[in-house]
Each structure stands twice: as C-alpha cells, then as structure tokens.
C-alpha cells in the first residue's frame, strides 16, 4: 500500500527519469548509427542494415584494437585488483595519520584529469629514459594507475562493514593469521573486490586520455582507434565498434552481478 507521503517524491521521479534519458539516449543513438544503412554517420539512420557491423568485423584496425583493449583491460584488472586490495587492507589496518595521507594520495588519480595523468606519465617516461615509454608495459602502468583507486575505494567500503572480531574469533579457534585471512576476511570482502575488479576492467577498456599519450600506432586500444578513424572518415564502422564495446561492458556487468552481490556493496543489504 502506498500512503499519501509518496506524493512528495514526484520531483525525484522526474529527476530520475531525466537522468535515465540523458544516460540511455546517447547509447541508443550509437547503436542505431552502427546499424545505419547509409554511407555516413547520420541520425536518424537511413534504414537499418548489418553493413557496418560486417565492416567492423573485417576491419584490419578495429578488430585488433578491440582485442588489444580486451587484453589490456584484463591485465589491468588483474594487477589493479591485487594491488588495490592489498593497499586498502593495509591502509585500513594501519590507521593513523600516515594512512590518511596515503588514502588521499591513492585517490588522487580519480580526481586528477586523465589528460594530466597521461601527460605526466608520458613526460616522466621520456625524460627518465625508462625503457617503458611507447611500450605495452608503459600503457599498462598508466591504466593500473587510473584503475587501482577504484579497487581501493570498493574494497575499503567492504572493509568498513567487515567486523574484525570475526578474524579474532578465527585466530582464537586455532587459525593462523593467513588462514584467518583466506578463510574469513577474503570471502567476506569478495563483493568489494569483485566490484573493484569489474570497475577496473570497464574503466581500462574505455580509457582514452591516458592511452592517448602512451599508445603507438601499433599498440592502439579501441577508444584511440575509434577517435583516429573519426578524424579522417566519418564512417559508421566506429559506431559499430561502439556497439561491440557496449556489448562487452554490459555482458561483463551482468556476469559479475551474478557472481557478486552489488546490493550489499551499494547499501541495499
């Protein structure tokens, strides 16, 4: 039963509806543009066809870029998840001023403009002469820097809910510190770790600014490939590539939502 108080909520419904439209409409436009039958990116599409989908699937630039982004995102996710989880746990357990300072530093890549991070890393690699500039590993480092804070944030959120006396109880029952961590702590914060890993993957897959500075013509992630393509030809193949990117992100979110209870992480409980 709804009571009359719900009437107060109508501005919220309107706000949510607007937000949803703003978020969803561009995605729909990309999808429809990718299915365009015409020669150029136009909206509304001049009829529907799989012409540009075919063009994407046979493209000598987009397919390798797509696979490269996938591999880069997977590697980024693996590294960021391990580093981020360890950092979050250490910061939380350490406490005090140092932990506060470190927490701030770790969140920095989230608030700094990506262009600044990309440029800074590029200048750093070139000027120090490290053999990482213009290599896959240099790009990977850049992606790990931008995604690790996401893992730290989600794991920290999970740790706030984690009751340390569970670990104490396990220790007292005969578990070593490692056993208590792997059997009690890790399973109970796995939701936060899973969510962080997913965010790391998605953010890395869509990362543009950092990649712009660190990628090379033979190491092109998908967003850079789309950008490059659009600069020279206004061809719907780029939109078709967008469809595949959206499909990947949606699929990975759905799969992880099955594995991880997001409601717990975002306060649904």
């Amino acid at each position: 039963m709804r009571d009359s108080n719900d009437a107060i909520a109508w501005p919220f419904y309107v706000g949510s509806a607007l937000a949803l439209i703003v978020l969803v409409v561009p995605v729909l436009i990309v999808i429809l543009t990718g299915l365009n039958a015409g020669d150029y990116m136009t909206f509304p599409p001049q009829g529907l066809s799989l012409r540009w989908i075919k063009s994407f699937l046979t493209s000598p630039t987009f397919v390798p870029a797509y696979l490269f982004s996938f591999g880069l995102a997977a590697a980024t996710m693996a590294i960021a998840t391990v580093i981020g989880t360890m950092a979050a746990i250490w910061i939380q357990r350490r406490g005090g001023r140092l932990a506060k300072i470190l927490r701030g530093l770790f969140i920095l890549p989230l608030v700094l403009p990506g262009v600044v991070i990309g440029l800074a890393l590029y200048v750093f690699l070139i000027s120090t002469g490290l053999p990482l500039a213009r290599t896959f590993y240099g790009l990977l480092v850049g992606h790990v820097i931008v995604t690790t804070p996401l893992v730290i944030a989600t794991v920290t959120a999970a740790l706030v809910d984690f009751d340390r006396s569970l670990e104490d109880a396990a220790r007292s029952l005969g578990a070593t510190a490692w056993q208590a961590f792997f059997r009690i702590t890790l399973p109970l914060i796995s939701g936060g770790i899973g969510a962080g890993a997913l965010f790391a993957f998605i953010v890395s897959f869509g990362q543009f600014e950092v990649s712009l500075f660190l990628s090379t013509p033979d190491l092109q992630p998908l967003p850079i490939a789309i950008y490059t393509s659009l600069r020279y030809r206004f061809e719907p193949t780029a939109a078709a590539a967008g469809i595949f990117a959206i499909a990947l992100v949606v699929t990975s979110t759905v799969i992880s939502a099955r594995l991880v209870n997001f409601r717990r992480l975002f306060g649904g409980r």
Binding site: S165, D168, A170, R171, L173, G174, A175, T176, A177, Q179
Partner: protein, 356 residues
C-alpha cells in the same frame, strides 16, 4: 581445568596506561568476573589473555605454561565476543567445525562432535542455519558451542549478554552459569553490569582506571566494598558524613548525629578524622515505633515516598542529613506517610567506614 595467573600484567599505549600491573590468580574451574565501567581496562585485560593484545610488561600463565609470547591460535583458549562473531558465510555446522578443522580433526569425528555440542547447547537441527536466521540467544549458544567443541583450557566471555533483551539476558545468565559449572571450565567474564557479576561469579575483580581495586566473592564485594568507587559502582549506598576515631584493628568509633557506635573500617587510622559511612538502603531500618535491638536508632522524618512495586523507597531526614531507605512492600507492614515522625537506623555490623 586450568588455573590462570596474571603477573604484573601491564598495557601501555604511548603515554597512557590501559592496564596497570594486574596481579591475579584465578583458580581451577572458577567463574571470575572482571567488573568495571567502560574504559577501565577490563576488555584490554581479556584481550591480553586471549592473545589479541601484546602486554607491555608482565606475564600470563595458564597452569604452568607461560603463554605471554604465544599467538592466539596457539593458546587453546575459547572466547565469546559481545557480538558473537558468528562467521556469516558459514552455516552453524561449519562455524562449529571451524576450530576442529584448524586442529586437523577427521571428518567423521568432526560430525560427531558438532552433533554432540549442538545437543549440549540445545540447538539440535540448527546445522544448516546461517547467523542471520538466528535470534540473539541462539547466536550466543552457537558462539559458545563453537568454542566448547574444541575443549579449550579456559573460557573468556566478553560482555556476552549486553546485546540481548532483558528477558533473554535473565535466562542466559543462569544458562551460562549452569553450563560453566557442569563443565568445570575456568572462566573469565568481562562485564560492566553489577547484577550479572553478582549473580554469576564465584569471585569478582572490580577495576577502576586501569587498576584492579578489589577482588572478592560477590558477598564480600557487596557487603564490604573497599573503596568509595566500589561502593558507588556496586549497588546503591547512602554515603553519610561522619567522624571516625581509632578503636581496635579493623574497627573504628563512628560519631554521627549524637550517637557513637563501632563500625568496620579497612586500614588503620591514628587520629580522629572525617569519614563516610556506607549504608545500603535495604539496611536502613525505618519504623513508626520501635527498632530491633542492636540497631543505632535516630529520630527522623519521612521526606518522600516512591512506590516501586515489590519495594517502597523512602527519603528520610535525620537531623539535616537525608538518606534513602528501602522497605519490602508487605501487607503486614503499614506504609509510612510523608511528614511522619519515625525512627530510622542501621545495624553497625552491616556498614562500612570509608576513609578519604
């Protein structure tokens, strides 16, 4: 059955001292309560015994074993936490089996012992439940079963009743006490609740500001509080300003409102000194006409009356000093009226003189 010995056990955090040189021996099979207000160091003491906090100085001995340097998992101690700390991702059976698995007990033996301990705590058929499906009392039983199944040397209980509602708390108080007695396991019970400590304990240690200020049976603690703090913390007491003069060892001559009588005192006094006489409200006897023999009696006046069901509480004025008296609400004893002139007094043998 293991004796616990704490030898000048101390914990300092920077410049502040959380636990200050505790010397204590808890006997085999004894139910010992550490009682005190929050922040008095009782929980830190318990956590040092459990091995979660490393002492700054002193030793902890279980029987003849010095466990001071051992990690928690090597101490063979069972601890029940305030919030029970049931592993939420494991069902009841897996929770209880955890300690046995860590000890590499075989599967068949684990199953058998889990069943046995569930029967012991009255939770047969609860094997597949999760903590979120259990009431507070049931979680408490699971937490106890989980430690008892490992047959620990000693049992530590950290405010285990504070998260329960009042009725359940009353029930669990006696249940835990009975279980402890039947197992004969040495138990340290941390609480800030004097009722729990008085009803459950063989002995109580009262802590105040990092120190153990008095150790004794519930009766000793209640009847003969050693300090003003203990007097105020355990139950209610009238604290009456009096003058005390030296008498024999353990007694002094107390002067109050024109009367002179002998009362107990701790420590020696060498000259006349101001002191406070602690008299429990239930030991203040009030009557309209006569008081029994041996009671120091004063003419007094009823100032106010508070009806509390089984007892009636009176505020009584004795020559400008107001004290509280409690009387059983019994049919054969007529209630007193406000403004009545009455006799009030106490048996000096049931008072304690506290020096400042």
């Amino acid at each position: 059955m293991t004796e616990i010995r704490l030898d000048t056990l101390t914990k300092r955090y920077g410049t502040s001292t959380a636990v200050d040189g505790i010397d204590l021996t808890i006997g085999e099979g004894e139910f010992f309560s550490l009682l005190g207000p929050s922040g008095c160091g009782k929980s830190t003491t318990l956590r040092m015994i459990a091995g979660f906090v490393t002492p700054s100085a002193g030793r902890i001995l279980l029987g003849d074993d010095d466990v001071t340097a051992l990690p928690p998992e090597a101490r063979d101690i069972g601890i029940v936490f305030q919030n029970y700390a049931i592993f939420p991702h494991m069902n009841v059976a897996a929770n209880i089996a955890f300690g046995l698995k860590m000890r590499k007990v075989g599967k068949a033996e684990i199953d058998k012992r889990v069943r046995e301990v569930l029967a012991q705590v009255g939770l047969e058929g609860y094997e597949n439940r999760y903590s979120r499906e259990l009431s507070g009392g049931e979680q408490q039983r699971v937490a106890l079963a989980r430690v008892l199944v490992t047959r620990p040397r000693i049992l530590l209980l950290d405010e285990p009743l504070s998260a329960l509602d009042k009725n359940m708390r009353e029930e669990m108080k006696f249940w835990i006490k009975d279980l402890q007695k039947s197992l004969g396991i040495t138990t340290v019970y941390v609480t800030h609740d004097q009722d729990e400590a008085l009803t459950m304990s063989d002995r109580i240690g009262v802590m105040e500001r990092s120190r153990l200020v008095q150790v004794g049976t519930p009766e000793e603690i209640y009847e003969r509080p050693a300090t003003l703090f203990v007097t105020g913390f355990i139950g209610h007491s009238n604290l009456i300003d009096v003058t005390a003069r030296p008498e024999t060892e353990g007694h002094c001559r107390v002067h109050f409102a024109g009367a002179d009588f002998s009362a107990r005192v701790r420590g020696a006094l060498d000259k006349e000194t101001p002191a406070q006489l602690a008299v429990r409200p239930e030991n203040v006897i009030v009557d309209a006409e006569t008081l029994p023999d041996g009671v120091v009696a004063f003419p007094a006046k009823v100032v106010s009356e508070t009806y509390q069901g089984p007892i009636v509480r009176y505020r009584i004025d004795i020559q400008g000093t107001t004290i509280t008296a409690e009387r059983q609400n019994q049919a054969h004893r007529p209630r007193l009226a406000v403004g009545d002139a009455v006799l009030a007094g106490w048996d000096p043998a049931r008072c304690e003189t506290l020096l400042r």
